[in-house]
Amino acid sequence: MDLFLDRVVIGLEQGAIYGSVALALVLIYRSTGFVNFAQGEMALFSTFLTWQFWEWGVPIAAAIAASMGVSFLAGAVIERVLIRPVGDVEHNALALVIVTVGMLLALNALVGWIWGTEGRRFPKIFGAGTVDIGSVSISYQALGTFAVLAVLLGLLYLLFQRTKLGLAVRAVASNAESSSLAGIRVGRILMFGWGLAAAVGALAGALYASELSLLDSNIFFQLLIYAFAAATLGGFDSPVGAVVGGLVVGLVTVLAGGYVGFLGEDLKLVAAFAVILVVLLVRPQGLFGRKQVSRV
C-alpha cells in the first residue's frame, strides 16, 4: 500500500512537470494553430538562463522571474522574426514545422556551445524537505510544483476568460482574418502568444530542473515526448487538458512501469501511448479539446 501511494505521488509529480511543458505547447497552439517542436529547447535555453542568473548570485525565485521576462521577449521576437515571415499555418504548416525543427537543432547546440555539455547543479526551488501525510511523504518540491501549476492555471483562466487581451488571443486563434477585421492587431497577439508560451516554458523548465536538482542540454528533448503525449491526451487547445493530460500520463507511466509485469519500466511509455490512442479513437480531439468546426 505504501509503495502504491508513493508511486501515485511520484506519478503525479512527474505528471505535473509534463503538464507544465504541455501548457506551453498549448499556449502556442491556441494562438497560432500549430505545434512548436522547439518548445522543449526554448525551455532549455530559458532554464540555463535561470541557472546563470542563480549562479551569479540572484535568488532563485528572482532568477526564474527574470528568465521568464527575458523568455517572454525572446518568444515574441522569435514569432516576429522567424515564424511570421514563413506564412500562416493554413498554407505553410509543413514549412512552419520545419522552422521549429530547425530551432530545436540550433537552440540545443547553442546551449551546448554557450554553457557546455556538462551537467549543472540546479537548486531546489522549494527546499529539500518532505511533508509526511500518514504513511506517504511528499517533498516540498512536489507540493510547490502542484501549487505553482494551480496558480498558473488560475491566472491563465483569468487572462483568457476575463480580459480583453485574452479574448483577443482566443479570437485570433479561432479566426485571424475576422479578428483583424474587428480591429485586433493580430501580429501583436501572435507575438504575445509566443512570448507567453516561452515564459511558461521557462517556468516549467525551472520546475523540472529543480525536481531533478540537475540540468544539462539533453533533458528537455526527453521531456518533449511526454509533453506532447500530455497535450495530445488533454486536447491541444485546452490548458486544463494539458495539465490533466500530464497528470494522467505521469500516473499511467509510473503505475504501468511498476505493476504491469510484461511492460516493465522499459516499456512504460508504450502504455501511455496506448491510453492516448484509445482516448483519441473515442474522442479525436482529446479529453478536453474542442471539436474542430469544419469549414468547407
Partner: protein
C-alpha cells in the same frame, strides 16, 4: 465632394494577378449601395481592397482621410466594418464573446448596453449567447457576423455576399434586418451580392462589375429595370 467613401482608379489583386483594373465609385453617408457582378468579376476583391486585406493601389478617401495601404486593424478604427464572405464569425467563441470581440477597439462603457440592443434586434442570438458561434445555423451566424461588425459602431458596413449558402427565406430576413439597421442607426452599407433582386430592393444605388471594371452604375430602380443588367444578373 462630400462623399463618405470615394475610390478612384482602385487596382488590386492577389500576388502578381491584378483583379481590379481601375475602379471609380463612391458611397454617400446613409446610403445602401450594392455591387453586382458575375463570379470572378472582382466584387469580393473590391471589398478586400477597401478594408486593407489585400494590397491595393489608387485612391481611397473615407471621410476626408486617405485609407489606402492601411492594414485592416487600422481601417476598422476609421469606422469601416467588414463582414467577410463565409460569415466571418469566430467559430470557437460564444455568441456573446463574438460581440465583445466586435467591440474590442472601443474604450467606452456602453459595450454591454450595445450587446443588449443587438440581442433585442436579433432575439435568436440572445437565446444562444453562451453557445459557440460555429455550432449555429448559417442564418444565425450571418446575423451574428453583422451584429459583431456593428458592435464597433461603424459608419460604413462592408458586407460580402450575405446570402451565400442561406435559404431564400433566411436571406430575406437578413436583408430586412439590414435595411432596418440602415434606417434606425443611419449606418451606411456597401454590399456585394449575387442575389441582385433582393439587394436592389433595399439598395439606393448600385454598380455592376465586369472583369475588374465598372460596367454600369446607377440608382437601384434604374439598374433593376435596365435590360442588359436584368438579363445578365437578375435572370429574367
Amino acid at each position: 465632394m462630400s462623399h463618405l467613401l470615394e475610390a478612384r482608379a482602385l487596382t488590386g489583386g492577389y500576388g502578381p494577378v491584378q483583379v481590379l483594373r481601375g475602379l471609380d465609385f463612391h458611397v454617400d453617408a446613409g446610403e445602401v449601395v450594392v455591387i453586382l457582378g458575375a463570379n470572378g468579376a472582382g466584387k469580393t476583391t473590391t471589398l478586400r481592397a477597401l478594408s486593407g486585406m489585400i494590397p491595393a493601389r489608387g485612391e481611397v478617401v473615407f471621410d476626408g482621410r486617405s485609407i489606402i495601404g492601411r492594414r485592416p486593424e487600422a481601417i476598422v478604427r476609421f469606422g469601416i466594418a467588414h463582414v467577410p464572405q463565409g460569415r466571418g464569425t469566430i467559430a470557437d467563441l460564444t455568441v456573446e464573446e463574438n460581440l465583445r470581440v466586435g467591440a474590442i477597439i472601443r474604450r467606452d462603457r456602453e459595450v454591454g448596453a450595445d450587446i443588449d440592443r443587438w440581442y433585442e434586434m436579433f432575439p435568436r442570438l440572445a437565446e444562444r449567447r453562451d453557445q459557440a458561434a460555429g455550432s449555429m445555423s448559417g442564418g444565425e451566424q450571418q446575423m451574428l457576423a453583422i451584429a459583431r461588425a456593428l458592435m464597433c459602431r461603424p459608419r460604413l458596413l462592408l458586407l460580402d455576399e450575405p446570402s451565400l449558402g442561406l435559404a431564400p427565406l433566411v436571406t430575406r430576413e437578413v436583408f430586412e434586418r439590414l435595411a432596418h439597421v440602415n434606417r434606425e442607426l443611419g449606418t451606411t452599407v456597401l454590399v456585394v451580392e449575387q442575389n441582385a433582386n433582393l439587394a436592389l430592393e433595399i439598395a439606393d444605388r448600385g454598380y455592376v462589375l465586369e472583369a475588374g471594371l465598372i460596367a454600369a452604375s446607377g440608382r437601384a430602380d434604374e439598374l433593376a429595370s435596365d435590360e442588359s443588367v436584368r438579363k445578365a444578373y437578375l435572370g429574367y
